[in-house]
Amino acid sequence: MSAGLLVVGGSIAGVRAVEGARSTGYDGPITLITAEPHLPYDRPPLSKDLLAIDGPMDPPSLRDEEAWAELDATVRTGVTATGLDPAARVVHTDAGDIRYDALVIATGGAARTLPGAITMRSYADAVAVRTALDSAQSLLVLGAGFIGAEVATAARTRDISVTVVDAAPLPLGRAVGPVGGQALTDVHLDGGVDLRLGTSVVGSGPDGIELSDGTVLRPDAVVAGIGAIPATGWLLGSGLALDELCGAVLVDTTLASSVPGVWVAGDAAAVDGELGQHWVAAADQGRVAGINAVSPEAQQWSGVAFAWSHWYGHRIQYVGECVGDQELLIPADGVSGLVLVRDGEHLSGALAIDRPGDAAKARRLIASGATWDAALEAYSVVASSAS
């Protein structure tokens, strides 16, 4: 009997890998293993809906038992991959060895952490953060990016006093330019948090937590939203080529790794050296990896980045690449507005605050390879004011 397709990892990339493989007509066995005790669930709601006072309490399952039966896939929860032998086509786990013909790795990332801080990545994390918010009157959030802002938003809804600290001079410093970063700073300030940029934690003890600006805080809870690192430690020594700095598995645009029979999707992958690190990329990479793992005709992955969030009641949408040669702010009411980003001759990205229509338009323009001038025209911006 053939060993079939094995998918390691129970988040969106893993689920989409199973669905992608089945979409080709592949009818061999499929097994998905996940280290967590739950059926594969969705992560975006964890830091949004699940933190609300009257929000849902259960893990936001991606597919129910019936859907898994329909996919004819075996899901094994509570099974952790511990090693890979690609020559023998075997994954070692804490529940014994599992053979495969084709393997899709979708183990995602692990939240970076600091001593004394709660992280926000898994369902268990969300429960811990919500429990902390239920009794806290003051909160320290480390990191002014998406996760930090979403936790701060949930806390402000409960009238908790919030300090947000970020070592960078602007929020999302690696993902947006200075104009976009300033726009997001304004959203934070409008949300009523004590925002301290360019500031870090320098010590903590019985007297409290000391910041680099000299302030000592005694918050009821501390949550860290300071990024994630690819969860690929179990692949060390397997022969798979990993990124030297972050540890992500190096794959090409077909999501194939450096060894035969192994594809990688989502936050564990670096596609042509680039990390995706958002839901849309993970989902689409999962689908393509699943297809390529069982089908002789390799599909290429290419996608326009898209991330969405709600910060203090404002809708934030991030499209494409928002670090470029030039940024143009088109202001709207209050802290709302649109930041367009130029890379060379083209529109490369857009950051939209309460401008969902403009974000949708940007996604289409970027996907169609629109020039900067064409983009300005599409937004009715007079070119001379944009130089």
Binding site: I12, E19, S23, D42, P44, W279, V280, A283, F306, W308, R315, Q317, R355, P356, G357, D358, A359, A360, K361, R363
Partner: protein, 64 residues
């Protein structure tokens, strides 16, 4: 015959549905999905189902 339903209270205009099945879904200039055909045509059921399941915020439903 099943019926496609979109919830604009949940829609984020992400466009995964449009990417999957652009003859059925388009994100309009208001940022919300427009359903172009109310029901999947014969043979399109799987395509529409996968577009509905592609939505990250569960704003689409296939009823009946």
């Amino acid at each position: 015959v099943s019926h496609i339903e979109a919830d604009h209270g949940l829609c984020e205009g992400i466009g995964m549905c449009e990417t999957t099945a652009d003859t059925y879904f388009q994100v309009g200039d208001d940022g919300f999905v427009q359903v172009l055909q109310d029901s999947p045509a014969a043979g399109d059921e799987k395509l529409v189902k996968s577009a509905v399941e592609a939505c990250p915020v569960f704003a689409l439903k296939l009823l009946g």
